[in-house]
Amino acid sequence: MDQRPIPGTPIFDGRRAQGGYALNKMCYSFNHEANRREFSADEEAYMAKYGLNEAQKAAIRARNVLALIAAGGNVYYLAKFAGIFGLNVQDIGAQQTGMTIDAFKAHLVAQGA
């Protein structure tokens, strides 16, 4: 694919997929309720079990979506992490764009007008 960047738009390519593998593998495990509970009971132990690097661990601790993406996270797997906290795609959209939830929803509505 043409490699020119698109502003504000991460492309989950081989470089990101390779660098983010441990983080994404942990988030993929959150398809299972038992794993979500195990993570919630001891986040540090669970991150260590999956071999997250320091940047990934810090981003998980901070619940920071842009940092998680910068650390190689893919949004489809990160959504499962966000789900543990009851956050949906509008919540994570608001966080990434620095908007309030209401402002983010209004932004969506404006584009459909």
Partner: protein
């Protein structure tokens, strides 16, 4: 002889499942989208398809990055839905059609499409919700058999629009060469424009979506000239789900007409779309031509 009786393109945002579970399908926010399925229900009641070939993208329920097929086909006698991690209800199991699946696999691989063949495949919201929308009153048993076909939309490099078009054409050829009787509807699920990640999260491009709604019916090959980068730029990073529409449309082949079409944005973070199309000629004629 198997015939393709129509194609349905539909958005598949997970919150559709939440809205159904909470009984919100007639609230002002959701009503336009759910009501767009009324003509689809009438069409299904009239045409009674036996099989749905569902072209969709898995979002990390079945496939992970350890092994990521570009194109995969289910060849199982049933497909289960499962917990995706964020709490929408799990839907009843879907019956497969292994004989037709294996025929498709033979034909597609013979035609140059080296499919990953899956005897176990968990189907996620992209597969389940469009079928639930088609048959909202189905109980524990769905009224038709299903065959999942997935297109990688997670990890770049993704297949090109031109390649997905050719895959769809090969699916069409495979179906009409099946000697047994089957009335087949092709689904393409996903889209339209949306982006969940990055500082541009929340991006929706209504103009591009409306262009897609028109071209997918009347001039679908025009959409195959976009590069993946162009599609990401125009439709958002998850707007690449347009590939499923392109493959669906190619499977129908020939001229087509829209039976019903609906566009409404935003649907969650997405340009919400429902488009039902039929071959302009009578089903079965394509096989004879």
């Amino acid at each position: 002889m198997a015939t393709i009786i129509g194609g349905l393109a539909a958005s598949h945002v997970p919150s559709i499942g939440g809205a159904i579970a909470r009984g919100e399908t007639q609230t002002p926010y959701w009503k336009p989208f759910f009501d767009a399925f009324n003509p689809v229900h009438a069409w299904l009641a009239d045409k009674k398809p036996d099989v749905a070939i569902v072209i969709y993208n898995d979002h990390g329920l079945n496939f992970f990055l350890d092994k990521m097929p570009t194109f995969a086909i289910g060849v199982a006698d049933h497909y289960d839905n499962a917990d995706e991690g964020w709490g929408i209800p799990v839907l009843p199991s879907f019956e497969g059609d292994p004989e037709l699946s294996w025929h498709l696999a033979e034909s597609l691989v013979g035609d140059g499409f080296d499919m990953t063949m899956c005897q176990e495949l968990l189907v996620d919201h992209a597969f389940t919700l469009p079928i639930k929308l088609m048959y909202p009153n189905a109980g524990a048993r769905w009224p038709l058999r299903t065959i999942p076909i997935t297109i990688n939309s997670v990890q770049h490099p993704l297949p090109t629009a031109a390649r997905c078009w050719k895959l769809g054409q090969a699916i069409g050829r495979a179906v009409i060469s099946y000697p047994k009787d089957a009335r087949v509807v092709i689904l393409g699920t996903g889209g339209l424009s949306h982006q969940l990640d990055g500082e541009r999260a929340g991006f929706i491009n209504k103009d591009f979506d409306l262009l897609c709604m028109k071209d997918i019916v009347d001039d679908p090959e025009a959409l195959t000239h976009f590069t993946n980068r162009q599609i990401v730029e125009l439709a958002g990073s998850q707007g690449v789900e347009l590939m499923t529409w392109i493959a669906m449309r190619a499977a129908l082949g020939g001229p087509a007409r829209a039976v019903s079409r609906h566009y409404h944005a935003p649907l969650s973070n997405t340009g919400g779309a429902v488009l039902l199309i039929e071959p302009a000629s009578e089903p079965g004629r394509m096989a004879a031509e």
